[in-house]
């Protein structure tokens, strides 16, 4: 294994050096932060996730499901795609649609278009979605994970065609969880890594209990993990299983989240994987689309005592002036959220406690988790959706609850965070059984809004009501990379402060957030400079971009197009 791999970097133009301890264009205060639940107004309140529970407490019932944003009709307004769970054929003759798609009416409301888009006839037991333009035809397709066969849906002019069989992605029948599209070999076609969980079936179900009397949901220690799979995009609508060839075997399985990163800045996408009760994984790209797993050596696989945590959702971003990527992983109750910042070479430092996230997250069970700039002050904050898996947990464990409030950790710009939900209360303090979490600016007002799904419950749309700070939103189109620019790195400079963002799918838990990049400008009117590092290694630089707008940038054109 090459621990100190240096890949290709083609730099056009010049390199600038910016030193700063903090990312902080402006000082914001928590009283600026407010989220309003708009689920009912938006027309989403009829949605319910169905666990299929019929009294047997089968393990999968406690785990789902995800959801997220997709622009299925290409109007640049984020639509919403929700996974509705499923029912067990053995237990229930009636069936439910596996997915619900809601079109954004551009007025804060949504309309159910599941049937008219060709999605109503799929019945399965679903978990997660991930969205990308896998066939580079300028529209958003999506991949859907289930407990049986997964599905690939191709977008054909705003309606979907199930191309699973033809694509080669439907051969396995395993319990899949989160999936991520990314261009592993930088050939311009989005490959896919599909997370697998455990070897569970009704036949090998195990009796688990909290009180010694009644059956409750099991945890994964009792089941064998199933390794995740990697499929290479052949560029012709088909995929080839290259799990072993690409270096993803052996693996412990029990995967629940995956995030793309490039910690060594070699221009090749790496992958961080959250595993439930197994070590978390870090796949470093060898510069040719194959990977070495270096989680244990890097120091990010285990907690400070070398223990594997119950990794759920995951995300990665640069959250301080170090310019180093930091990995965030949601974990079980009585386990801190993991925070690992890249240090040097292949090594990461454990900042779970130092980031001030550790202690406030200790009692909650975090599933969905993502970084976004909540108050548009230029740094990335952390949102987490929480909820336990054991109904009645409060009867056996003091201080632990089945329904839990969310966390919103605001970043002070130096990688130190404060959970403001207990301070501001409001919609995010409502206790839920949180699972999936995703973000998008659904009302296109520049602030980033939140979508959360519940296990056996509704979805929640939280509108971000912070309007005090300025923003700049950017969509990229790549020519030599995947059409939707997966793996593109954008660095915004404002007042000598640097903000780094990445165009990516995956992250969080079974969910998909928009790929539009948002820069919080604070009270500045414009972004001083924008550096775009395209997946093919080229770089473009733009200067003096006015805030308060959403722009499109196509690789190599050298110009911005205002939406």
């Amino acid at each position: 294994m090459n621990l100190f791999n240096i890949g290709k970097i083609i730099i056009i133009g010049y390199v600038i050096f910016i030193s700063c301890d903090k990312i902080k264009p402006v000082v914001s205060s928590t009283n600026q932060i407010s989220f309003t639940e708009v689920t009912k107004y938006a027309g989403l309140s009829d949605f319910r996730h169905i666990t299929g529970a019929a009294g047997d407490k089968w393990f999968p019932e406690s785990m789902g499901s995800g959801g997220g944003f997709i622009d299925y009709n290409g109007d640049s307004w984020p639509d919403i795609l929700l996974v509705s769970g499923g029912v067990w054929p053995e237990k229930n003759k009636s069936v439910i649609p596996a997915l619900y798609l809601y079109r954004n009416n551009r007025d804060g409301t949504f309309m159910d278009v599941t049937a008219s888009t060709g999605l109503a006839d799929l019945h399965t037991y679903g978990f997660g979605i991930t969205v990308a333009d896998y066939d580079n035809d300028d529209d958003q397709d999506f991949f859907f994970t289930t407990i049986w066969q997964n599905h690939l849906f191709r977008n054909d002019g705003g309606s979907f065609v199930d191309v699973t069989a033809k694509s080669g992605l439907g051969k396995d029948s395993l319990w899949s969880t989160s999936a991520i599209f990314f261009d592993a070999d930088l050939d311009g076609w989005a490959d896919i890594y599909v997370g697998s969980y455990v070897d569970w079936s009704p036949e090998n179900d195990i009796w688990c209990t909290l009180d010694g009397i009644t059956k409750n949901y099991c945890t994964p220690e009792l089941f064998n993990g199933v390794p995740s799979r990697f499929y290479h995009n052949n560029g012709n609508g088909t995929f080839t299983d290259q799990t072993e060839q690409a270096g993803f075997l052996p693996a412990p399985g029990k995967m629940l989240g995956a995030a793309e990163l490039d910690f060594n800045n070699d221009g090749w996408p790496d992958l961080a994987v959250a595993s439930d009760t197994q070590r978390d994984l870090l796949y470093v790209n060898n510069g040719n689309g194959t990977f070495d797993e270096i989680g244990a050596i890097s120091g990010m696989a285990y907690d400070e005592n070398g223990r594997a945590k119950a990794g759920m959702g995951i995300d990665v971003g640069v959250v301080d002036g170090s310019k180093k990527e930091t990995i965030f992983v949601g974990n079980f109750s009585k386990e801190m959220i993991s925070v690992f910042r890249h240090q040097s070479d292949v090594f990461f430092e454990d900042r779970s406690a130092l980031s001030k996230i550790g202690r406030p997250s200790l009692m909650t069970l975090t599933f969905g988790l993502f970084l976004f700039d909540a108050e548009l002050d230029g740094d990335l904050d952390l949102f987490t959706a929480n909820g336990h898996v054991q109904i009645g947990i409060e009867q056996t464990q003091d201080g632990i609850y089945y329904r839990e409030p969310s966390h919103l950790f605001l970043n002070d710009g130096s990688g130190h965070f404060t959970d403001i939900v207990p301070i501001i209360g409001g919609a995010l303090s409502k206790t839920i059984v949180g699972r999936g979490a995703a973000y998008a600016d659904y009302d296109k007002n520049g602030t980033v809004d939140i979508l959360v799904t519940e296990n056996g419950g509704p979805a929640h749309l939280y509108r971000n009501d912070n309007h005090l700070n300025n923003f700049l939103r950017i969509n990229v189109k790549s020519i030599n990379g995947t059409r939707d620019g997966l793996g593109t790195k954008l660095v915004g400079i404002i007042n000598n402060m640097s903000m780094e963002r990445r165009v990516k799918t995956g992250s969080s838990f079974m969910s998909h957030s928009e790929t539009t990049v948002t820069f919080g400008l604070g009270n500045a009117e414009k972004l001083d400079s924008l550096y775009i590092y395209w997946p093919d290694g080229t770089k473009e630089i733009f200067h003096n971009i006015n805030g308060g707008q959403e722009i499109n940038i196509m690789e190599g054109q050298g110009r911005l197009a205002v939406q």
Binding site: L3, A296, G306, Q343, F347, A353, G358, D398, G399
Partner: protein, 396 residues
Amino acid sequence: MINKQLVVASLCLSFIFSSCQKKLEIDPGMAALIFQAESASRSGYYNAALTLSDSAITISPNVADIYFLRGRVFTKLARLEKAETSYLKVLQLDPNYQGAWFNIGTNSLRQDKLPAAISYYKKEQQTHPSAATMVQIGKVYADMGKVDSATFAYEKAIEIDTKNASAYMRLGHLYKDSGDITKAIKYTTSGVNLDPENLDYKYFMGSLLLLNGEPKASIPFFRSVTNKRAWHYWAHHNLGQAYFRIGSIAEGQHFMDKAKELQKGIQEVENWRNLANMNPDQFMLWVNLGNSLNNMGRMEEAKDAFLVALSLKPMNFSLQNNIANLCLMIGDTNQAIVRYEAILSMDPELVDIWLNLGVVYASSGQVTEARQAWEKGLEFDSNNQTLKGYLETLNQ
């Protein structure tokens, strides 16, 4: 006849929290029974300890010490409800009995009944204020996520006893979890200085230094642990990480590989321990726990697990033999001899036990006894080549 005062003094030494302030008029016969029960408990003969205490209760049912002993035995056997019943009986007989509320609190803590644990510890603190109890109160508050209350409790413990290493260490943990590594190191340093031989403390100090970006400084602390606890997965893992971070890749890899080897064993131990504690009457769970501990070289702990298993199946000679072997390996020759002889008193035809007994005698220089044991074994298996070989060696 056993001197009554001697009995009470003996109990004072062995009980964690026996007040021993009351000089009860104890029947000498009962005093002897208590003495024997205490001795049996200490040697791991838990059934015998309970039987003897039963007899003592028959003679004199109102002596709190007997119930306190029973509470401790039941705790050893992971029968926490029975332990609590015993401790409550102690308190019924003597509401100020030192240690009773404390032990009930600790059993509640083991069962994750945190508010209950706090209330029991507070009762103990009202009657017998101590730093140890305040430390436990702080620990429960910390487990409940109540950082301020935990801090207060630990600081109070230090106020009561400035030499209480545990209180400093707990404060160190608390500050570490809160992200204040400077304070964590400060308090942990105090704890380590007060109890410099404590390997758990050294391990935590090493972890703090590693977390603080001081891998080189952390290495001696981890080394102390790995040198004395070859099974310590966590210290090996962190030692590997520390070496990696100072650029000693080969050494780092060595310890990471070692940690990986140990990891499976550690997981097995944790799994069996959880299962055994949840199902304390399942013989095989304790045996499996003992085996998994023994495989890792954690012999004292393995012996403890086997002793609980033995209390469930007292006539299991194989298990008795294993316990005796462990006693021998730990260096408790006398206990090993007692246990081998106890097995032989029940079944004198067990040749392997005669062989083992002879080995113990021989290794402790008791040549005559060793010879007798091996010759006795040959009476039952005259063709046993091992026995013959040992005797031949002895003759030479």
